[in-house]
């Protein structure tokens, strides 16, 4: 039986060295006894000097290494991180547990992935306890201000007293250094102390004593604690699960807790008893002012696109408005020669408030350009002005608007047609076709055809650009894209033909250069 005596202050190196030597000497875990200095119940081991001051006793007898065997011991990085944390735990069995893991890892390289293994589960339980203690230290240390030393530009000085469960000071002190860089501080605990002076972080292993300091700012903190508490939702167990009583003695606010709990019921009852009273005077004044307020919505002449757009912003004709971000009205010049009508805004359009700016819009813009058409001279809109979708996790899945929604929204589309009076209307997809014509007509029968629409007005039927994006088959997509390009070519031809027969001097401004 090999015995190793360690100081047990959370020093990973102190464990690593004998553990490595034992492993290289093939000493099985059951043949090692790990003893924490000062923990050995006063028996004879307590007198043993701690390792590594007496390395000879470790590598004695038959267990000494064969000369020249200095094989490097390798472990997964995860084990080092785990062990660094576990050695900080107060459990005397931790050294043996870590050595067992180290031993088994030589054969079972994936051991740490088996979280259901008893040793692994136990090690992670210790690690969690250390992590939690360290986290609670970050949360529950309370700095008290000390008088500032004299000097030209003195730094403010703070002191905290904390009682951790494990040996976590060395692990946790750098956090305070990174956070409270511009002040001097000392954190004193029964398990050692740490201090920062703006240049160096120092650690001391000696147990400290509670300095019993006062800080006047604590009074403000107590006021905050008492008032942020909602007495109508008393949940004492939930509080204690996260702020166990063992930490209370060093938390100034904890002294208030019993009183707050005891008074909760009475303060809720008092609240209920104080029923609504007469509103204060300024409320009356505010209500009056609001009633007489001059509306800051810009007044636009009715019968213009701007007026229609402003009115559509508040449209509640169908239920879609409750789910969408905003109305996406058409955009473009009010005397455009051509109007493109899509189905409905998508995710990006809904956020931006403009039609055809998402992925389908990019395709549309690109192909308009190829056909020699200029989008800024066209009027672009949708059959339905609010986005209809189904939420799926972090995304919104487009849903086809139903006939009722199309019918409700037709009112706006008709208004746009009346105000812009385009020579040519392009229906992009079946929904647009249904909104513009008799809904009983079949889209596939009319695709690519030019129909009469209104007085001196033509309708061209083609697909929606998002259709091209959705086609999975490469060859099919190419063919359909070419067909769509042809349709846009027809648009360009019809417009230039119209420009030649019209007397309108700006009639051909739509043709791109």
């Amino acid at each position: 039986m090999q015995r190793v005596v360690l100081k047990g202050r959370g020093d990973f190196e102190a464990w690593r060295q004998p553990a490595r030597a034992l492993l290289q000497a093939r000493v099985a875990p059951r043949d090692v006894e790990w003893i924490e200095e000062g923990r050995a119940d006063g028996d004879l081991f307590a007198a043993l000097p701690p390792y590594p001051s007496a390395p000879s006793q470790l590598l004695s007898g038959r267990l000494s290494l064969p000369p020249g065997d200095s094989r490097a011991v390798t472990v997964p990085r995860a084990f080092v991180l785990l062990a660094e944390s576990v050695v900080c735990h107060g459990d005397p069995a931790r050294f043996g547990l870590l050595y067992s893991l180290l031993w088994r890892l030589q054969e079972e390289r994936s051991l740490l992935a088996i979280l259901s293994d008893a040793d692994v589960a136990q090690a992670y339980a210790l690690e969690k306890s250390v992590r939690r203690d360290s986290h609670k230290m970050k949360a529950f240390v309370r700095f008290k201000e000390m008088e500032t030393a004299d000097g030209p530009a003195p730094r403010r000085r703070f002191l905290a007293w904390f009682e951790p469960e494990h040996h976590i000071i060395a692990r946790t002190a750098p956090f305070f250094q990174r956070r409270f860089t511009d002040m001097d501080w000392i954190i004193a605990t029964p398990k050692g102390s740490s201090a920062w002076d703006g240049e160096r972080l120092t650690l001391c292993e000696d147990p400290a004593e509670n300095p019993m300091l006062d800080d006047v700012t604590d009074a403000l903190w107590l006021t905050y604690f008492a008032n942020i508490f909602n007495p109508a939702r008393l949940k004492v167990k939930a509080m204690q699960a996260e702020m166990p009583k063992k930490y209370w003695k060093n938390l100034p606010e904890a002294a208030l807790i019993p009183g707050l709990i005891a008074g909760a019921e009475a303060s809720v009852a008092a609240m209920a008893a104080r029923a609504a009273s007469q509103p204060p005077l300024f409320h009356e004044r505010l209500q009056m002012a609001a009633a007489n307020a001059v509306t800051d919505v810009p007044i636009v002449a009715t019968g213009t696109l701007d007026a229609a757009r402003a009115e559509a912003r508040g449209c509640t004709r169908c239920a879609l408005h409750c789910r969408a971000t905003q109305t996406v009205f058409g955009e473009g010049p009010d005397n455009a020669e051509v109007m493109f009508v899509g189905e409905q805004p998508g995710d990006q359009e809904d956020l931006a408030g403009r039609p055809f700016v998402g992925p389908a819009g990019k395709v549309f813009d690109g192909m308009l350009g190829e056909a020699g058409l200029d989008r800024s001279a066209a009027y672009v809109t949708n059959a339905v002005k609010h986005f209809k979708y189904e939420p799926r996790g972090k995304r919104r899945i487009h849903q086809k608007p139903d006939m009722g929604e199309v019918q409700h929204c037709k009112w706006w589309l008709k208004l746009e047609l009346d105000l812009v009076r385009p020579k040519l209307v392009v229906a992009l997809g079946a929904t647009a076709l249904a909104a513009l014509t008799d809904p009983r007509q079949r889209f596939s029968d009319l695709r690519g055809t030019v129909l009469p629409l209104g007085v001196d007005q033509k309708l061209l039927v083609t697909v929606h650009p998002s259709y091209l994006l959705r086609l999975p088959d490469e060859a099919r997509r190419k063919a359909e894209t070419a067909r769509f390009r042809d349709d846009l070519g027809t648009v360009a031809r019809l417009l230039s033909a119209a420009a030649q027969t019209t007397t309108n001097p700006v009639g051909n401004r739509f043709i791109g250069v």
Partner: protein
Amino acid sequence: MKKSLNERLAILSDAAKYDASCASSGTTKRDSSRSGGLGSTEGMGICHAYAPDGRCISLLKILMTNFCIYDCAYCINRSSSNVERARFSVEEVVWLTLEFYRRNYIEGLFLSSGIIRSSDHTMEEMVRIARELRTTHNFRGYIHLKSIPEASPLLIEEAGLYADRLSINVELPTDAGIARLAPEKRPSGIRKSMGDLRLKIEAANDPTLQTKRRKRFVPGGQSTQMIVGADDANDSTILGTSARLYGSYALRRVYYSAFSPIPDASKNLPLIKPPLMREHRLYQADWLYRFYGFDIKEITESQPGGMLDLALDPKLAWALANRARFPVDVNAAEREMLLRVPGLGTKAVNGIVSARRFRRLRLEDLARLKVSLKKVRSFVVAEGWSPHRLIDRTDLRAMFEPQPQQMALF
């Protein structure tokens, strides 16, 4: 006479407590070791104290002022309430934040405000506080600012440069509810504000061509809050609204706040004990939607009246309504199905998936993964364990319900 700082702190923290959010997590990692200043955020949030209501205190959560020109029925600060009023100056909020921070009481500031004069005026003052903290005092702690409804996009944009998180509360799950209880608020304006913010956050996240660096803009994302129980919306409606908000505006969190009686309350409101269990079930359902692959419809469709079962958690309620999907073999089932087993959380599922590559798992192994066997055993098959006909028992529900308690004799 002017109230002391202590008195005003009492009023303005009391006024702020109905906002549930106190998160300080999920922002960028940063500290003061190079700047020599004050403050850090290291990924994980820290709760510095807990009040007896079980809520974490991570941030100094205060209002700049509780004067308000709005008259929202559910709000303690509505203009028609006789609650005591107060306001902080910009300097006072900055001082309180820094002094509280130095003593390690808090992770940072969560600043909200009643609306005074105008939305823009209020937002401007709040942005000034954040700017002072960041630029004058080199403060690197956490800042959460409430966006004031209808504030100008330019102010929101500046706020986003200093704040880790911005939030704007939708308050109620339906537009009709808002129209009834918060007549001055425009739901469409709130949605627009959230949509604008999502676009700005996404634009800032696109690395620029020159530097490949992302601009720091609201790194902690945006969140919102809905009050539960102030109107008659059912859970199905509430969760549907949440799903839409998550999908539409990339929110980090939707908070649910059980409507809690307020002093000097309006007559339009139920002055009952806050429905804390309902709030808890909503959070559980929210988690199922975001991390467990459940659809809102799946969670609510088997529930009468669209209300979640208060006696059973929503995953267990779903499992009992869908027994044909069980038992699930922990050694073979897909991850997606493991996540649907009552009693298995994401951590346990990760543990199972990782461990079963090397070993066949038994019930004892699950226990070591910190799984409650009592809950899980009826729903799983493991090495050496099969629930036999447990899953078909008619009293399975009763096995999980809280034990009935004997009434006290009178």
